[in-house]
Amino acid sequence: MPTRVVFSSSLSDRYTGGENDLEIDATSMRGVIRALEERFPGIGEHLEEETSVAIDGEIHETAYFQPLKDGSEIFFIPKLEGG
């Protein structure tokens, strides 16, 4: 199932050699992260531990277990903390 993954420039600078808009075939966020880790070693742990994820505009605190739809748009964003 194709999904679109978009990285911020800080993530792409650090892990993907500047590539920031990718198509990943996966049915779950775990699958997306596994595929990204295979392609860009080291990114998986960062995504799991240090980012929130926005899937089709819905923000989730953790990337690990969220389900996906066909064509889902996925943004990894900094984790947020309020007051």
Binding site: A54, G57, T62, P78, E81, G82, G83
Partner: protein, 759 residues
């Protein structure tokens, strides 16, 4: 998650708060109210200098004083690695944190903790502190963010290289980090604009102003286990930070939540707890530490002061074409201001195709900044919403209509990447356009101003347990300290889920051994995330109640439904049974298999952001420069209000704090970097007589990801306030105030020395 569609019995009702009687009768126990046999008084010696090398600390005379049981310095704390752990915005560097708890090489601000003392009484502890000899070498200091960024500024850390810049600078500076977000094409966007306004602003650092000072009691036992009683916004976080700073195992430290007398973000970190625990370990007695008000101001986190530049372009028809913001935030003595939030929230309420935000995290000789109500967002909103007000006047458009024309909605691209997943902003604007006061006439020297704000709201990790009692009552325990009415909200959601009366539920806050990990009460996350955990646990218990009824009726559990607090046969084919109430089933719990209870832990996502739009009327006294707020109307998308009275309280509280930030609150330093107004007499938070009627307008667009439609409501209400007041002042007297607070001397100066009428 499916949302309930039937009318609610308890959701949306204003129930009596379960913590009300203990608080008004004085029996509620706050952080300073705990004691144990043999407890000692702990005090902390603090730096009198804004910036100084610590050449030596001699504690021998203090330790020799009769009645002194322990003295600790940073030597009593393990070393920590220099590494940023965790996500970018909230990355913790324990090398920094341990130096904030007790200074090592340098004192970095007046009030920086140097040593802790435990003694048999307060007088002995004070005498011991006077006997500690600290050899300082005083250094030049930098208080203001622009001063700290200057080329020749004194450096707090001689080896600090700015992060976030490629290639990395070769020269150290006080700029800890630079971050940047971009959307679209800025040059093309500004080229399309008919009007462009660029303006600089400054905001003062302000304290959260909680009434209860930081206080704790700590006991370290001979077997290496410890226990803490303290007020905080998250006792699991107190446990995690204290254990890490002292090299303890999480399982060896139990933290008990006290009642909390306000936090607003400032009690999401630790100050006194690790020192009290280290003193207890050394003394062999429990140690209690309570900060004085002066210590609270000088040593605990305010939010950042800032300087910023905002530039926005607009077409004559009111379409915003481009927006740019540069935000420079004081982090205090260690890196970690909320400047990233400022960059992300600055233009989030608007559908602007071209955006660029840059943030600077800057260390300076002030206490380390801590979270404060929507951290970062109110600061950028002050600049952004002020510039929008100027632009609305330039194109002769009503300021609310201007905002409505450009309002973000579902699908709008955010500068930080994703598209907006939830709406609600437009509805807050429309609510004020329809408000009867918005077009009302004004008198001389009076003006009306409007502004908006955005906050992400939080989800995340929460734990809850529910247990039924034999008399049919229930106990709901969560790990969320109750700051804004969470016990009432949890009890309401439990009562609605069980289908019985609100007063049948006792909601409590459990300690770190009794419930699953729960993140802080902050980020407007508790009613959402902890609420989901409570509803999940209650639903699990309901399934158990159905199973017990099935056992009593000797039918299959699928033949039992739960309606209005009763087990009923699912259909006539199941059998002819009278409904069993929760109380009926609870009375037979022992016979049918034992106690009924359930736990739930969640890492909740799908939270919806908060939007607020406000207007206010002010009157400016041209003789004194004093600004009086005459009326304040605050609209907010609240999802679905579980307890509307508490939601009113959140909105009114956020506005009240914003009024203080707008008009009076600031830290005043002398030329040696020493704080001159470390008390509520001189640090001027608003009191009741300073405030107008604050009318809350609750707009309800339920969030489908929560069983009852909850959205966080605690923070976004402070975001628009300072700009709304500034816009009103500009309309009242024709002076654009670009620096907070808009205190009487500044307003008078603008009236006396700036002759031209300003938008």
């Amino acid at each position: 998650m499916n949302q309930e569609v039937k009318p609610f019995k308890w959701i949306g009702t204003r129930q009596i708060r379960p913590d009300g009687v203990p608080k008004v009768t004085g029996t509620a126990k706050f952080g300073a109210d705990y004691s144990l046999p043999g407890s000692l008084v702990g005090r902390i010696l603090r730096s009198p200098h804004a910036h100084a090398l610590i050449k030596s600390i001699d504690t021998s005379k203090a330790e020799a004083l009769e009645g002194v049981k322990a003295v600790v310095t940073s030597d009593d704390f393990p070393n920590q690695n220099f590494e940023y752990i965790g996500p970018e915005r909230v990355a913790v560097n324990f090398w920094h944190m341990t130096r904030n708890i007790l200074a090592r090489e340098k004192a970095l601000y007046e009030g920086h903790a140097i040593a802790g003392v435990a003694a048999v009484d307060a007088a002995t502890a004070a005498e011991a502190m006077a006997l500690i000899e600290v050899d300082y070498e005083v250094l030049p200091h930098a208080i203001d963010v622009d001063d700290a960024m200057a080329e020749d500024a004194p450096l707090l850390f001689e080896d600090m290289i700015t992060r976030g810049v490629e290639p990395a600078p070769t020269k150290p500076s006080n700029v800890s980090k630079i971050l940047e977000f971009t959307l679209g094409d800025m040059a093309a966007g500004f080229a399309e604009a008919d009007e462009v306004v660029e303006k600089d602003f400054k905001t003062a650092a302000v304290h959260q102003g909680y009434i209860e000072p930081h206080a704790c009691l700590a006991r370290y036992d001979a077997d290496g286990q410890g226990e803490i009683w303290c007020s905080s916004q998250g006792h699991f976080v107190v446990r995690a930070l204290t254990a890490k700073l002292l090299g303890m195992k999480l399982g060896d430290l139990r933290v008990n939540p006290a009642e909390i007398g306000g936090g607003f973000g400032g009690k999401t970190v630790v100050y006194v707890e690790p020192v009290a625990m280290a003193l207890s370990k050394k003394a062999g007695h429990p140690v209690a530490i309570t900060m004085t008000r002066e210590e609270v101001f000088k040593s605990s986190g305010p939010t950042s002061g800032s300087s910023m530049t905002v530039k926005i372009g607009v077409k004559k028809d009111g379409t915003i074409t481009a927006a740019e913001g540069t935000f420079r935030f004081q982090a205090g003595a260690f890196p970690g201001s909320p400047v990233m939030n400022a960059c992300m929230c600055a233009f989030a309420t608007y559908d602007i195709p071209n955006q660029h935000t840059v943030g600077y995290d800057v260390v300076c000789n002030r206490p380390k900044a801590a979270a404060y109500r929507a951290p970062g967002s109110p600061i950028s909103a002050f600049g952004v919403e002020s510039v929008l007000d100027i632009l609305a006047k330039k194109i002769r458009m009503d300021p609310l209509e201007f905002r409505l024309k450009n309002a973000a909605d579902v699908g709008t691209s955010m500068v930080y990447g994703p598209k907006l997943g939830h709406g609600g902003y437009k509805e807050t604007i429309k609510a004020l356009l329809d408000h009867p006061g918005y077009k009302a006439g004004l008198g001389p020297n009076q003006g009306r101003g409007a502004a908006s704000g955005y906050w992400f709201n939080g989800g995340g990790e929460s734990g809850a347990t529910v247990h039924l009692n034999a008399d049919g009552t229930a106990v709901v325990a969560t790990g969320s300290p109750d700051i804004g009415g969470s016990r009432a909200s949890m009890a309401i959601m439990a009562a609605e889920t069980f289908g019985f009366d609100y007063d049948q539920v006792r909601a409590t806050v459990a300690d770190t051994t009794a419930v699953g990990y729960t993140h802080v009460t902050g980020g407007s996350r508790v009613t959402y995330a902890t609420g989901i955990a409570v509803v999940n646990a209650c639903k699990d218990a309901v399934d158990q109640l159905r199973a017990r009824a099935a056992m009593i009726w000797e039918v299959d559990v699928d033949g039992v439904v739960w309606e209005d607090g009763h087990a009923k046969p699912a259909g006539s084919n199941v059998g002819d049974f009278d409904p069993l109430s929760l109380k009926d089933i609870a009375a037979k719990m022992g016979a049918t298999g034992g106690a009924i209870g359930a736990s739930s832990t969640v890492n909740a996502g799908g939270q919806a952001p908060g939007f607020a739009t406000q207007y206010c009327d002010v009157e400016v006294d041209p003789e004194t420069g004093k600004v009086t707020v005459l009326r304040f109307v605050a609209a907010q998308d609240v999802g679905r209000a579980i307890h509307p009275g508490y939601v009113d309280g959140q909105i009114q509280g956020g506005v009240a704090q914003g009024i203080g930030w707008a008009l009076n609150e600031e830290y005043i330093y002398d030329d040696k970097g020493r704080l001159q107004n470390a008390g509520f007499l001189d640090y001027r938070v608003p009191v009741a007589s300073d405030l107008p009627n604050i009318e809350s307008v609750q707009v309800e667009l339920p969030n489908p990801n929560h069983p009852f439609g909850v959205k966080g409501v605690g923070e976004v209400n402070i975001c628009p306030v300072m700009a709304a007041i500034s816009n009103a002042v500009a309309n009242a007297v024709g002076r654009r105030m670009d620096s907070l607070p808009m205190s009487p001397p500044k307003v008078l100066d603008a009236l006396d020395n700036r002759s031209a009428e300003e938008l």
